[in-house]
C-alpha cells in the first residue's frame, strides 16, 4: 500500500436495485381477484374516517386519489371512501417476500435487503454465468412475474445510489439501465431531493444556495460545497458525480424486531393498555419465531397524549421467542414508566440483542428454559401464516376493538 496519489481504480461493478410495485397492496390484489383494478389501501382501520393509524401501502389505483404510504388513514378515507381498506397481513407479505428473495439468490449471494420488497444485488461476479446485468435484471423481473404474478421495477447501474434512482424513475414496471460512464448525464436533470441525505431541510438549504438539479451540484467544485455544507456537502457532491463506493452487504441479520400500535382514541384504561401489550407481544413473538431468533432485550416505547415519548428497556434473563415471557417483561417495563394518569397515544415493543438457536446457549440452573417450540405455538403460527394475524389470538384479545 504505497502512498500514491493516483486514484485507486475499483473494478467496475454491476448493481441491480429491485423494488416491488405497491407490494402489500399488490399481494392483496393477487390473493383476492375481486380487489383487482380497485383502489386498495393496506393499513390501519379507517373507522369511517375516524381511524388514527397510517397507510402502509396503496395500490396504483388508490394513488390516483393522492393516497400514499405513511398518510394518516382518515385522510386516505376522505380522499377515497369507496376504496378497499385492508388490514396489514405481515406474515403473508413476509412469506411472499422470502420467495422473491429466493429468486434473487438464484443469481448472486450478494443480496442486500432494504425491506421486504426492496433489495440491492451485486451481480458483478455473476456476469460470466448469466450474461449482462441487463439480462439478469430482465430474467429476475420475468421470474417474479411468472412465479408470483407480481410486478417489480428494476434499476441497473454501477453504484447503489444510481441503481436506486433508476428503479424509481419509471415505476411501476420500470426498467432503467444507466450505462457505465453515463451516471452524471443520467442524474443531471433530476431534482436535488433525489440525493441520499438531502431531506426536506437540506433540500431547502440547497434551493436557497441556488441548486435545483443534481447537475447544479455536480458542476460545482467539491471544495466549495464542502465549505458551504461541511461533510454532507462532500457526500452530496460525490453522489451527484456518480461516486458511491458503498458495497452491497448481504443479508445483515436484523438488529431488532419490533411492533407498535397507535390507539384510535388516546387511553388511560389499564385494561386496554395491557391488552395492547399482549397483542404486541404476540406479534413480536411470532416474528421472532419466523426469523428463528431469540430476544435478549425488550424495549417498551410509550408515547403519551402530549407526544412525549419514553422508552424503558431490560435484559431478558433467558433469551426468548415466546409471547408470554415478552408480555411479562413488557408489564415490568410499563411499571417503570412514570405514569401519572396521562393518556397513552402509542405503545410499541421491540426485541433486540437477537441471537440464533445455533449460537451457544447458556443452560439454566432451575430448568425453566422454555421449550423452543411448544406444539401450541407452532400450530398457532401456522394458522396465522395461512389466515392472517387476527385469525386466532388469546381470548382476552377478543373485543370489539381492532388494532
Amino acid at each position: 500500500m504505497g502512498s500514491t496519489h493516483e486514484e485507486i481504480k475499483e473494478p467496475m461493478r454491476s448493481i441491480i436495485h429491485i423494488d416491488m410495485d405497491a407490494f402489500y397492496a399488490s399481494v392483496e390484489q393477487r390473493d383476492q381477484p375481486s380487489y383487482r383494478d380497485k383502489p386498495v389501501i393496506v393499513g390501519a382501520d379507517p373507522q369511517k374516517g375516524k381511524g388514527r393509524g397510517v397507510v402502509s401501502a396503496a395500490s396504483y389505483e388508490a394513488r390516483v386519489f393522492g393516497i400514499h404510504s405513511a398518510m394518516p388513514i382518515n385522510q386516505a378515507y376522505r380522499r377515497c371512501p369507496k376504496g378497499v381498506f385492508l388490514p396489514v397481513r405481515m406474515a403473508r407479505y413476509q412469506e411472499v417476500s422470502s420467495r422473491i428473495f429466493a429468486i434473487f439468490h438464484r443469481y448472486t449471494d450478494l443480496v442486500e435487503p432494504l425491506s421486504l420488497d426492496e433489495a440491492f444485488l451485486d451481480v458483478t461476479g455473476s456476469l460470466r454465468l448469466f450474461g449482462t446485468a441487463e439480462e439478469i435484471g430482465r430474467r429476475i423481473e420475468a421470474e417474479i412475474a411468472q412465479e408470483e404474478h407480481l410486478s417489480a421495477s428494476v434499476g441497473v447501474a454501477t453504484t447503489k445510489f444510481v441503481a436506486k434512482v433508476a428503479s424509481d424513475l419509471r415505476k411501476p414496471k420500470g426498467f432503467v439501465i444507466v450505462e457505465p460512464g453515463k451516471e452524471v448525464e443520467f442524474l443531471k436533470d433530476l431534482p436535488v431531493e433525489r440525493l441520499w441525505g438531502a431531506g426536506p431541510k437540506m433540500a431547502k438549504q440547497l434551493h436557497r444556495l441556488g441548486y435545483r438539479t443534481i447537475g447544479d451540484i455536480a458542476r460545482q467544485g467539491q471544495a466549495e460545497l464542502a465549505a458551504l455544507l461541511g461533510q454532507s456537502g462532500v457526500h452530496l457532491w460525490e453522489l451527484a458525480n456518480g461516486i458511491d463506493p458503498r458495497p452491497v452487504i448481504p443479508d445483515e441479520p436484523a438488529k431488532s424486531i419490533g411492533s407498535e400500535t397507535t390507539f384510535q382514541v388516546d387511553t388511560a384504561d389499564p385494561n386496554v393498555i395491557r391488552q395492547t401489550l399482549l397483542e404486541l407481544a404476540e406479534h413480536v413473538g411470532q416474528r421472532l419465531r419466523a426469523d428463528e431468533c431469540f430476544a435478549g432485550t425488550l424495549t417498551l416505547k410509550f408515547r403519551d397524549e402530549a407526544f412525549r415519548t419514553l422508552t424503558r428497556a431490560m435484559a431478558i434473563s433467558e433469551p426468548t421467542d415466546q409471547a408470554p415471557v415478552l408480555y411479562r417483561t413488557a408489564l415490568t417495563l410499563l411499571d417503570r414508566i412514570p405514569f401519572s394518569g396521562q393518556k397513552v397515544r402509542l405503545l410499541g415493543l421491540s426485541a433486540s440483542h437477537l441471537s440464533t438457536s445455533a449460537e451457544r446457549q447458556q443452560l439454566s440452573l432451575f430448568g425453566e428454559t422454555p421449550k423452543r417450540h411448544s406444539q401450541l405455538t407452532e400450530a398457532l403460527d401456522k394458522i396465522r401464516t395461512r389466515f392472517g394475524d387476527s385469525a386466532i389470538k388469546p381470548g382476552s384479545l377478543f373485543t370489539k376493538r381492532r388494532v
Binding site: M314, A315, S317, T329, R360, Q362, L363, S364, F366
Partner: protein, 374 residues
C-alpha cells in the same frame, strides 16, 4: 436552620448516601437529601423508597430546622471546597446558603415536608454481628445475584440466620439462574443470651451493596434486625433500613451437585490467568470458552469467526474420563475472584451438568455454574 460542620464530616455523609439516592428521576425529591439540624447534631437522610439511610453527624447547631435539596449538587460542592469548616444557613423561603471561607453558594431547597416520610420501625431484636465476617459473606455471594432480572426474586440476596445446628450461623445465597454462590459462617453472640430468631429473608441487591460499602469503612461492629417486611442495619450512628423482597426464593439446595469423586484440582491463579487470556477472543460471543478436562490438564479454547482463536493448557489433576464442555468465562472469573485459597476443585458429572466449584481450604463457600452448549 443554622449549622456549622466540618467539611470532611459532611462529605463522608454525602458519599454514603450517593448510592441510595434515586438516579432515574421519577420523583424529584428522591434525588434530594434531607438535612435535619437537631441539638445532638446534623441528621442526613436519603431514600429511594426501598432503602433509607440515616446518619447523625457531629455539628454545631445554632438554630434547629430542616431542609431538603439536591444530594448530587451538595456532594459536588463539598468535593470542591477545601476549607475545613463550612456553615449552612437556611432562610424561611428554603434558600440554602453554604459558606466556606471566601466562597458562598446559594441553592434552592424545598421544605422538609416534601421529603418522603420515613416508615416507623421497631428497634426490637437486633442481632450483633461480626462486621468483617458479614462483609466477607456479602462479597462472596453478591456477584452472583441477578441484576435487572425478569424473575424478580433473583435480584435479591437470600439472607439466612439459623441456630438449629447448635452454633448460630449466617448463610448468604445469590443466584441469577445461571450461577449460584453460597457462603456461610458460624458466629458467637456477644453479650446477651437472648434466643436467636430464625431468619430467612430476601434482601434487595442494592441494600446488600450499601451494607457492603458501610462495612468496608471498618469501625464498630454492626447490628442487624428484621421485622415482617424490613431489615434494619445499624453501625456507629448510621441506620440503613431496607424493604425486604416478597416472593419465593428458588430451591437452591436442590441444584447443588452431590459430592462425588469426579473432581478436577487446579491452581486458582493459573486458571484465572489462562481464562482471561483465552476469553479475549470470545468477548463478543458471551465469553464462551470451551474447556476440556484431561487427566493432567485442562485445555481452554475460544474462537470467533471474525477474530480468530486462542488456546491454553493449564496443569490439573482429574481422575475421570476426558470430556469437553463450554462456559461463560466471566462466570468463572467472578467466582475465582472471590476465592482466597491457592487451589480449587471443579466437580462435574457430564458436559451439560452443573459444575461445582469449591476450595479445599474453605468448605464454607461454594459456587455452581451452568455450562453453555457448545
Amino acid at each position: 436552620m443554622k449549622v456549622k460542620i466540618a467539611r470532611d464530616e459532611l462529605l463522608t455523609a454525602l458519599q454514603r448516601v450517593q448510592g441510595v439516592v434515586e438516579k432515574r428521576n421519577t420523583m424529584p425529591s428522591l434525588a434530594n437529601v434531607l438535612l435535619e439540624a437537631k441539638p445532638e447534631g446534623l441528621d442526613v437522610l436519603a431514600t429511594d423508597l426501598e432503602i433509607w439511610m440515616r446518619g447523625l453527624y457531629k455539628a454545631t447547631v445554632e438554630e434547629p430546622g430542616a431542609v431538603t435539596f439536591s444530594a448530587r449538587k451538595l456532594y459536588e460542592i463539598l468535593r470542591e471546597i477545601k476549607d475545613p469548616e463550612i456553615s449552612i444557613l437556611v432562610t424561611d423561603n428554603c434558600l440554602v446558603t453554604i459558606q466556606a471561607g471566601r466562597s458562598q453558594f446559594k441553592v434552592v431547597g424545598l421544605p422538609s415536608q416534601e421529603f418522603p416520610v420515613v416508615p416507623s420501625i421497631e428497634r426490637e431484636g437486633l442481632i450483633p454481628l461480626p462486621g468483617s465476617g458479614l462483609l466477607e459473606l456479602i462479597r462472596k455471594t453478591l456477584f452472583a445475584v441477578g441484576d435487572n432480572d425478569t424473575r424478580y426474586v433473583l435480584n435479591g440476596q437470600l439472607f439466612i440466620v439459623s441456630s438449629s445446628g447448635g452454633k448460630p450461623l449466617i448463610r448468604l445465597v445469590g443466584t441469577d439462574g445461571h450461577r449460584l454462590a453460597v457462603a456461610e459462617r458460624e458466629f458467637e453472640i456477644q453479650g446477651g443470651s437472648a434466643p436467636l430468631p430464625e431468619v430467612k429473608v430476601i434482601l434487595p441487591r442494592k441494600a446488600a451493596h450499601e451494607i457492603q460499602r458501610l462495612l468496608e469503612e471498618g469501625g464498630d461492629e454492626p447490628m442487624i434486625g428484621f421485622t415482617q417486611n424490613t431489615m434494619i442495619f445499624r453501625k456507629s450512628g448510621l441506620v440503613l433500613t431496607s424493604r425486604l423482597m416478597e416472593g419465593t426464593y428458588p430451591n437452591y439446595q436442590q441444584v447443588i451437585p452431590k459430592e462425588s469423586q469426579k473432581k478436577i484440582s487446579v491452581n486458582r491463579e493459573e486458571l484465572e490467568g489462562a481464562l482471561r487470556r483465552v476469553s479475549v477472543l470470545s468477548r463478543e460471543k458471551g465469553y464462551a470458552v470451551k474447556m476440556t478436562f484431561a487427566p493432567d490438564h485442562i485445555t481452554l479454547f475460544s474462537s470467533h469467526p471474525d477474530t480468530g482463536e486462542a488456546t491454553e493448557e493449564v496443569p490439573a489433576r482429574f481422575n475421570g474420563e476426558e470430556f469437553s464442555t463450554g462456559f461463560n468465562a466471566r462466570y468463572f472469573l467472578d467466582v475465582l475472584g472471590v476465592m482466597n485459597g491457592e487451589n480449587l476443585t471443579l466437580q462435574m458429572e457430564a458436559p451439560l451438568s452443573p459444575c461445582l466449584l469449591r476450595e479445599p481450604e474453605n468448605l464454607q463457600f461454594m459456587s455452581v455454574i451452568m455450562p453453555v452448549k457448545v
